[in-house]
């Protein structure tokens, strides 16, 4: 079976080579400024590390006066957690639920994906399946292809029917 039926992998290789070439040609002035920026960032990281609360705590951890407020803070945190716990929503954890909602909204807004699924000439499916084969894992697009085969609107990500 041809793993690159539409020549897409070949196109990718060529484009990648051209982009690599353009990276090699980045001039000395830009490289010099990037070097300076990197050093500034590292200085910033050291400064942030020095003033990081955890780090400051570590430098004081041997001092006896530290333990009293720390124990007080821990007690307060436990108390707050105890008071709030029964009111936590049931079902999905909040982080997971909000992520799922965000993804749903994105899918509904993804018209590109819809068009590719519904009006495409099949290239996208072939490519997506080849990608999934190459990675050895089922992909979202692979699932989309299966969905289409069953007469559904397709990819959970890109082909969800918004209408």
């Amino acid at each position: 079976m041809n793993r690159d039926p539409n020549g897409i992998a070949d196109l990718e290789r060529r484009l990648q080579a051209l982009l690599e070439e353009s990276v090699q040609r980045v001039g000395g002035r830009a490289r010099s400024r990037l070097n300076q920026a990197r050093h500034a960032a590292l200085a910033e990281a050291q400064r942030a590390d020095r003033w990081h609360p955890r780090r400051r705590l570590a430098t004081r951890v041997g001092r006896p006066g530290l333990w009293v407020p720390a124990a007080g803070g821990l007690t307060a945190a436990l108390l707050v957690a105890f008071v709030l716990w029964p009111h936590a929503p049931r079902g999905y954890p909040p982080a997971q639920a909000s992520r799922a909602t965000a993804q749903d909204l994105e899918l509904l807004a993804d018209r590109d994906g819809m068009e590719l699924m519904q009006n495409g000439d099949g290239q996208f499916y072939e490519w997506a399946m080849a990608q999934a084969d190459a990675s050895g894992q089922p992909s979202a697009s692979g699932a989309a292809a299966q969905g289409k085969a069953h007469g559904q609107s397709g990819d959970a990500d890109t082909g969800r029917n918004s209408g």
Binding site: Q16, S22, A30, A37, D49, R50, R54, G113, D157, T158
Partner: protein, 195 residues
């Protein structure tokens, strides 16, 4: 002695190792990040500013995160920065369009090193590559922003689909569609580049 003195507080061995790792990471991504910003902003100095801001922000806020998270985080920050600069530029252009014409000679001086005559032994081939690169950069710049992002992060930076999705703040399926669309458009515009 377990820690080296650095300013008023000692830097531990783990902090020094983290700084070294961060330095290596930044050195590894900086030129590609610059190219990505340059394609999006079409201006070298703006692109350098964007990369510098992204580096600073990563170092300031995320240096203590696991190193494998840095790459998508860095590109997420860079994309936000690029978007901010594009918005600011749009506003600035609107304001400038109301002002009298700028004086001639405001443009940046050409870089003398870039202008120097090349002693390349294969000028014809180089010219061919040069033309192909120019055409590619124009075609990428004309792509819709999300397609451009997906294409550059996947092809130039080599992020996988999951990392690209994190960097773009969207689902993996969306990355695939944006990326595939970009490839289709580029093939339609460029044919078979440097066949």
């Amino acid at each position: 002695m377990p820690a080296a003195s650095h300013g008023d507080v000692d830097l531990s061995d783990s902090s020094k190792a983290r700084c070294r790792a961060l330095s290596q990471f930044l050195a590894g991504v900086e030129v590609r990040a610059f190219k990505i910003a340059q394609v999006a902003l079409r201006h070298e100095d703006d692109a350098l500013d964007a990369v510098q801001d992204a580096m600073l922000q990563l170092a300031r806020a995320y240096a203590d995160r696991p190193a494998q998270e840095w790459r998508p985080l860095f590109y997420r920050i860079l994309e936000n920065r690029i978007r901010d600069m594009q918005r600011r530029r749009t506003v600035r252009n609107r304001v400038i369009s109301w002002l009298p014409l700028r004086a001639q000679g405001d443009e940046d001086e050409p870089d003398p090193i870039a202008q120097a005559v090349s002693d390349d032994p294969q000028p014809a081939r180089r010219l061919e590559i040069e033309e192909a690169m120019t055409a590619l950069q124009k075609a990428i710049a004309a792509l819709p922003r999300r397609q451009q992002q997906a294409f550059l992060l996947r092809t130039l930076e080599g992020l996988d689909v999951a990392q690209t999705a994190k960097a773009m703040g969207c689902s993996e399926g969306s990355v695939k569609t944006h990326y595939f669309r970009a490839l289709q458009t580029l093939r339609a515009q460029l044919g078979e580049p440097l066949a």
